[in-house]
């Protein structure tokens, strides 16, 4: 009897322990899931805030260099709107715990100032105020990036911040400047998103498409139709994937599954290799930009006819450090390349240079065609510096108006354009 009671008690205890264990496990799993959802929500808000602040910094840098009143107002309106959105994103964070009050205050301040300056004449303090805002936004970006890095490295959790500590935003330490999130690899490299190509070309068959691909890479391809954004043939190989346009048989995209070998060639050698591939797409192609990431360099090419470089037709060739072709991206070239009426500048280079912001130090310049909102413009391109920031500025070669500008940021892999 005693033994039976003993075994029953032990059995009951064992069952209770197991049940408790399962209950605790499921509760813990629920808690972990809830924390994960909260963390994702905070991460999304922080990302949006960071993205907005980077855009604000970028637009302020352009506002510093813009002389055209209409463009200034456009930038002020954009900054006001972006700053308002930034403030909204911050409201999605545990504000007090994260110490984001100062960033919220700054976002509201800049939104209000820019909205006000849309209605008022710009006085002599305007330029200095913009420079001050720019410097503050750069500092804010650096600190927000530091917080994001800490979260990525697992040192901080946004979901834990309701209990302890803060992100240390707006600490007194100086931080290096990080670049904004919207980054273009070279001027005008993002294309204008046409849906039909500007040039009419005859249809080619699959064999021709296959021949086009094999000029660039040796692979065993199967060819199928690709019913995507562009009428194209999809060539799937064992080590690569290629898209060739049905009209004209132009190579649109090539991605290679290659691995870096041991050899490392010089930049000049790599550029020469890239140029050979580029000239298979466009005979007049010249390098207009280059950017390194990972174990390869991406060269941007554009046609140069006479003295004029055609930025709308930009395409990219990617070469690994050992000289292998890694990729080609020429959808933009396919869409925009067409026969153009030759134009001559009515404003000389010196006259255009005189229209730049006072204090802008020019390093290089050239004549080019650029595309803004699907309108092509003949322009003088000036690379130079203002207030310790590098820019490229485009002055119309017809009427001398400042058409657009980019800020150039140096990183340890090359220069990037925003």
């Amino acid at each position: 009897m005693k033994k039976t009671f003993y075994f029953l008690t032990c059995g009951l205890l064992a069952v209770l322990c197991i049940a408790l264990g399962f209950f605790g496990f499921s509760k813990q799993a629920d808690a972990v899931k809830a924390e994960s959802l909260l963390e994702n929500s905070y991460s999304s808000s922080l990302s949006s805030c960071a993205s907005a602040m980077r855009t604000i910094e970028c637009d302020l840098s352009k506002l510093m260099i813009t002389t055209d009143a209409e463009k200034q107002n456009l930038l002020l309106a954009t900054i006001a709107q972006t700053a308002y959105g930034c403030a909204e994103s911050i409201s999605g964070l545990p504000v007090i715990a994260t110490g984001m009050q100062d960033v919220l205050k700054f976002a509201n301040q800049i939104s209000a100032y820019c909205a006000l300056m849309l209605k008022r004449e710009k006085d002599e303090n305007f330029d200095n105020q913009i420079i001050e805002f720019f410097q503050t936004s750069a500092k804010a970006n650096a600190l927000i990036s530091e917080a994001e890095n800490s979260i990525s490295a697992g040192k901080l959790s946004l979901a834990d911040l309701s209990n302890n500590g803060n992100l240390g935003i707006f600490s007194t330490e100086e931080q290096p400047i990080e670049y904004p999130s919207v980054i273009f690899d070279g001027p005008f490299s993002d294309g204008q998103s046409y849906t039909t190509p500007l040039s009419d070309r005859p249809y080619v068959d699959k064999q021709t498409a296959l021949g086009c691909a094999k000029k660039f890479i040796v692979d065993e391809f199967s060819v199928t139709d690709s019913a995507g954004d562009v009428e194209a043939y999809l060539l799937t190989g064992t080590k690569s994937s290629v898209l060739v346009s049905k009209k004209g048989g132009i190579l649109l995209s090539l991605v290679v599954n290659n691995r870096q070998g041991d050899t490392v060639l010089s930049d000049d050698e790599l550029q020469q290799i890239a140029t050979e591939y580029a000239r298979m797409i466009c005979e007049d192609a010249v390098v207009v930009w280059q950017e390194q990431y990972g174990n390869s360099i991406v060269f941007n090419f554009a046609p140069k006819v006479g003295e004029c470089t055609y930025y709308p037709d930009v395409f990219k060739v990617k070469i690994s450090f050992d000289g292998q072709l890694c990729g080609i991206e020429a959808r933009n070239f396919y869409m925009e390349n067409h026969v153009r009426k030759p134009q001559s500048p009515t404003i000389s280079q010196n006259e255009a240079q005189a229209m730049l912001k006072s204090g802008f130090e020019v390093e290089t310049s050239r004549l080019c065609i650029i595309s803004i909102d699907r309108q092509e413009h003949l322009a003088w391109e000036f690379f130079g510096n203002y207030n310790d920031n590098a820019y490229s500025i485009y002055i119309s070669a017809i009427d001398g108006k400042q058409l657009t500008e980019f800020r150039i940021i140096s990183t340890d892999t090359g220069k990037m354009v925003v």
């Binding site: 990525s152 697992g154 999130s181 019913a227 995507g228 994937s241 990431y293």
Partner: protein, 208 residues
């Protein structure tokens, strides 16, 4: 009897232990290889075989003890960070890095073309009027990616995923404009399965 009770208690303890993030004994793959390489670089000799066995666990524990971390043999975010394998590349843009994290979480076992394709899907969604307007909003859109729901989005991406993200950012899109992808072996969504497949890379089929 005592042994039986001890066994029950041990089961309860094991059932209650949760390893959320981090790699632990039993794991396999590229991330384990990366961990093992990093351990060797720090002077904790292990075979780089991609298998998180007892040797790797012991090495991780020794590293954790020597570096003031909780010596549990699990390579969580703090241990990975201390080993230098979860740190963000010094000049990586946040959007590119977030994109790379998503590619790693969704397609780390795929070919390079497959990784670029997944990254291109996200970029195409940003450009599409039917989706949110930023990388982070697209990735964190509720229900969009399983890896966000299960936390894999928080794993550190490898070099190849970062390169794939950079390529997609630079315009490379082997899918020719697709907006969706799925694994035919596991997908159950009838709407997705009804769409014509425009591109295939490894285990993923892509559609618009």
């Amino acid at each position: 009897m005592k042994k039986f009770i001890a066994f029950i208690i041990l089961c309860v303890i094991l059932l209650n232990s949760v390893s959320v993030l981090g790699i632990s004994q039993g794991a396999r793959g590229e991330m384990v290889e990366k961990l093992q390489t990093a351990l060797n670089q720090h002077g904790y000799n292990v075979s780089v075989d991609g298998i998180y066995g007892q040797q790797t666990t012991n090495a991780v524990k020794r590293f954790q003890q020597d570096n003031g971390l909780a010596a549990d043999g699990i390579a969580g975010p703090l241990t990975q960070s201390a080993l230098g394998i979860s740190a963000k590349p010094s000049n990586a843009d946040t959007d590119v890095y977030l994109l790379a994290r998503c590619v790693y979480a969704e397609a780390r076992g795929e070919s390079y073309v497959g990784k670029v394709a997944v990254a291109a899907i996200i970029i195409n969604r940003v450009a599409s009027p039917n989706f949110p307007n930023s990388i982070s909003e697209v990735i964190y859109q509720p229900g969009a990616f399983d890896s966000v729901s299960d936390g894999q989005i928080n794993l550190s991406p490898d070099e190849e995923c970062i390169r794939a993200a950079n390529d997609a950012f630079s315009g490379w899109d082997p899918t020719n404009g697709c907006l969706y992808y799925y694994n035919p072996a596991t997908a159950t969504n009838k709407w997705m399965l009804s769409k014509p497949i425009l591109f295939v890379a490894g285990n993923h089929s892509f559609c618009r």
